[in-house]
Structures are given as C-alpha cells and as structure tokens.
Symmetry: C2
Subunit: 101 residues, 2 copies
DNA sequence: TGATAGAATCACGCTGTCGTGATGTCGTTG
DNA sequence: CAACGACATCACGACAGCGTGATTCTATCA
C-alpha cells in the first residue's frame, strides 16, 4: 500500500510525465530528452534517475552518451487508463453540477 | 498532462489509498472510515474531501451522518493495474541485479 | 431550547520534493 | 595530456502537502 502510493508518486509530476512521453517513441540520450521537453539538463537527469530507480526506465551508456529507454511499454497503458478515468471523473462532476442547476 | 499528474497525485498517498480501500466494499460514513483505517477524524475528512473534489468519491448526507461512496469502481481496476506494473518493475530490478552479480 | 454526536474547518509546524546554478566526473578527440 | 562535451551530483531556497489539536458547524433528540 505504501509501495503502491510511492509508485503513483512517480507519475504525479508533470515534468516527469513529459520526460516519459519523450521516451514514448524509443530510446533517447539525455540531451535529446532535454531538447524534446525544454527542461533544464539537471532536472532531466534527476527525473531520469528517479524513473530508473523506480524500475520504469533503463539506463544504457553508449560511448560518451547515455541512452534511456522505457523497460515495459505497458506503463503507457497505465497512463492511458488513468487518463480515461480522469475524463470519466470530470464528466461525472459536470453531470453532478448540472443536476443541481 | 498537468491534469494527469494531479490525478496520479490523488493516489500517491498511503492514507488516501487506505481510505479508498475502506470504501471498496460499499458506502461508509466518516466514523466508519475512521474505524476501518485507524486514522484521525480530521485527517479522514480531509482525504474524503480531496477524493470528492477529484471526482473519485461521492458525498451523500443521510440524517446526521454523511456517507461516502466510490463513484466509478473502475478506479480499483486502475489500482490493480498499477500494482501489477509495480510488481513487474520490482521483478525487472531483481533481474538486472542478478545480471550484474 | 439545550445537549450531544458526527463531520468539517482552521491554524500551525513539519517534512519532502521540486527547480536552479554551480561544480564534479567521465569519455572522447585533438 | 589538455580541452571539450555529455551527464551526474551538490547545496540551497522555495513551496506544497501532510498530520494534529482545537474549534466550529449541523442535525438529532431529550
């Protein structure tokens, strides 16, 4: 339960989701992620480290570059399902509001 | 993306997950949730309010009591899938460790 | 209406995490 | 070996969210 909360925490940061989204189409090195997201290099490194520790992403040094890659693409399924739930929740809130007005 | 991160944030708290878990078997009033979770009344109220604002839970006053109920039980599917992903990530980490040793 | 129980809210201290600028480390290339 | 680029880490200020104890609000019932 504690662990599950921590796992959700991994995806509870907009910038981290942006980093993850940059890796959607395949492996990228750090600089490429920086360019894709517009975030600072230090911040991207930090988020990538977190994602690595969480076991979501895999680190692969290649020469002087370091590539990162999503280990299990099923995480995107999780993101999609969460987004679906989010939309359903939003819709329900509007319905509840309409029922009052 | 920002909204999605906020949605994940809802489930990134152990106590909030505990509250949600108490509501798994059906509607409960606040005191019942307090007893199920062992949390303080103020804290339970706070979490229930958050869950309500997030559109995950529905508030229904009944006499002097206030019952809370999960709106869309599909959230439990989301929790289950997240837990599955979590386990997969943990397994992968062990494999990576074994590959080194 | 006064008393009581259930629920919500307030004020506050505290901790964790985020983002940044600077610095450190590592590998390549001249 | 010196210099440079890529990446990681550090130290720090800022801020948001958690949990608590006390208080307030609301509905029921004597």
């Amino acid at each position: 339960m504690e662990a599950l909360a921590d796992y959700f925490k991994v995806f509870s940061e907009p910038n981290r989701l942006a980093v993850l989204d940059a890796l959607r189409q395949g492996p990228l090195n750090v600089t490429a992620v920086v360019e894709h997201t517009g975030l600072s290099q230090a911040l991207v490194s930090k988020h990538l480290k977190l994602l690595t520790i969480a076991g979501v992403v895999k680190r692969r040094p290649e020469g002087s570059l370091v590539f990162y890659e999503v280990i299990d693409r099923a995480v995107f399924k999780l993101l999609a399902q969460a987004e679906k739930q989010l939309l359903a929740a939003r819709r329900q809130q509007l319905d509840a509001l309409a029922a009052i007005l």
